[in-house]
Amino acid sequence: MMELLAALCLIFVVLGTVPTLVSFAQFVMVGLHGIWNHYPKCADYTPRVAFVLPAWNEADVLGASIDSLMAIDYPAGAWRICVVDDASTDHTPEVMRDKMAQYPGSVFHLRREKGGQGKAHTLNHGIRAILDENWAEAVMIMDADVLFERLTLRRMVRHLADSAVGGVTAYVKEGSTPASLLSRFIAFEYITAQAAVRRAQNVIGALACMAGGAQLHSCENLRAIGGAIDTSTLAEDTYTTFKTQLAGRRVLIDANAIVWAEEPDSVTALWKQRLRWSRGNLQITAAFRHLWFTSGRLAALGGVPFGVLWFSAALMPLFMILGAVGLVGLYFLWAPWAEKAFAFFWSATFVIYLSETLFCFAIDPVASRKCWFQGVIFPGLVSVAMMAVAVSGVKVIGSTDRLSPGTWSWGDAAALLILAWTGLSTPAAWLVYRIDRAGAPKWLRNSLLVLVGYGPLLCAIAFAAIIAQLRKADLKWDKTIKSGKAKIQT
């Protein structure tokens, strides 16, 4: 019986490494994007593009976004900006009046008198008007605070020359100025999650999400998916990405096309934003339940590689908890095995962490110069220390074969804490959120975040999303407040 339980614990430890191994597999594919990419099918194509910007009380950021869009390098008269004002109560109408006067014939203001239904409804109001007008050949769905570099649109539209492509997204970079510890963490996260992982998804042939901040669709594609975007989930951008691919068109990222956005500057705001994203992804997991692991019959989205990627991310907290349960269980059943499993788990994690961090620095050296420290401590100082312990071979776990109730010591308690850290980091990250929410000073929040790690924080949010979905908690659209801090950085 003991042997059986010990074997089960070993299986849990191996399962605990799944998200790390899957992440590594994705990173291997990033390099292959140098060989398998869409550039050979690109052509010099400059369709008429309508930008649609949903705006609810965006007076602080709208002017800069419109200015950046009007400064792009694109054939004159071939692009328009349509701001859909979701019954704003701030100075958005005044800003729009000024911008329409400044850029006559290029900037348009659509106002909804009754708003508050969320971003998807607002976007649909604009998309309907654009499709009815029949002027545009492509539509760029974006956020009101996003800033476009001069050549971003040119980089994106060239892929639409291939009629098999329905949508293209860009690399969204964190552009808050001045940068904070949290914004630098997000900047590094975006190197991994967008510049790296989405390139890998280009190679697989299935993209999980075209970022809502820069989502270019051919009008033909928008009409094919019903002429509107989904309003039933919290992740309308992911839903649209899935529908496009299921309708038979490719979507891809051009990671050399860059846009800049302002991301949350507090753990509380980040939690709110990411909880919405994570719950949206879980809704999508359920909405497309017929799709998973169907061996590619339903586009590459249904293939095993994409299914593994999707579920390893969606269920990451559960894998981490299983890993911790496995290590702790082994400690009780057979301590020497726990030591070996601990060394295997954290050494493998270290090799992958080192490879991925170094490669991220190579993928975006400009951004990495600003956020290298956050890259190094992304998993948290505690986890980095665990890796150091595992690699150095220092013994932190006793060599007693089996623990009996009478032999407990402080050393055992410390060993259990160390073994359980992959699971404990999730509630620890949740505590950081609660402390931030309670109004703790920034230095305390930042110190705890460095200690616990940004990765575990994302894991905690994913866990909270699973709980919220199981509890069927209220679904509501919580807007992320933007203050206009984002700047295009070179």
Partner: protein, 58 residues
């Protein structure tokens, strides 16, 4: 300001054809993807060497 002013800018850029601008941009991006391929090989080689050295020395 606005797109009307950019007509002037586009006259300048007409000197070099739009097609060559596209080719230049795409070539630049393909070089970047190629660089990432070799960077990955480089990172892989460095990490593999470190792991090998570690296993030999331990």
């Amino acid at each position: 300001m606005g797109q009307d002013d950019q007509i002037g800018q586009s006259q300048d850029s007409d000197l070099t054809s739009a097609a060559s601008a596209f080719a230049r941009l795409t070539a630049e991006d393909r070089r970047q993807e190629n660089r990432l391929f070799w960077s990955e090989i480089g990172v892989g080689a460095v990490v593999a060497s470190l792991v090998a050295a570690y296993l030999i020395l331990m």
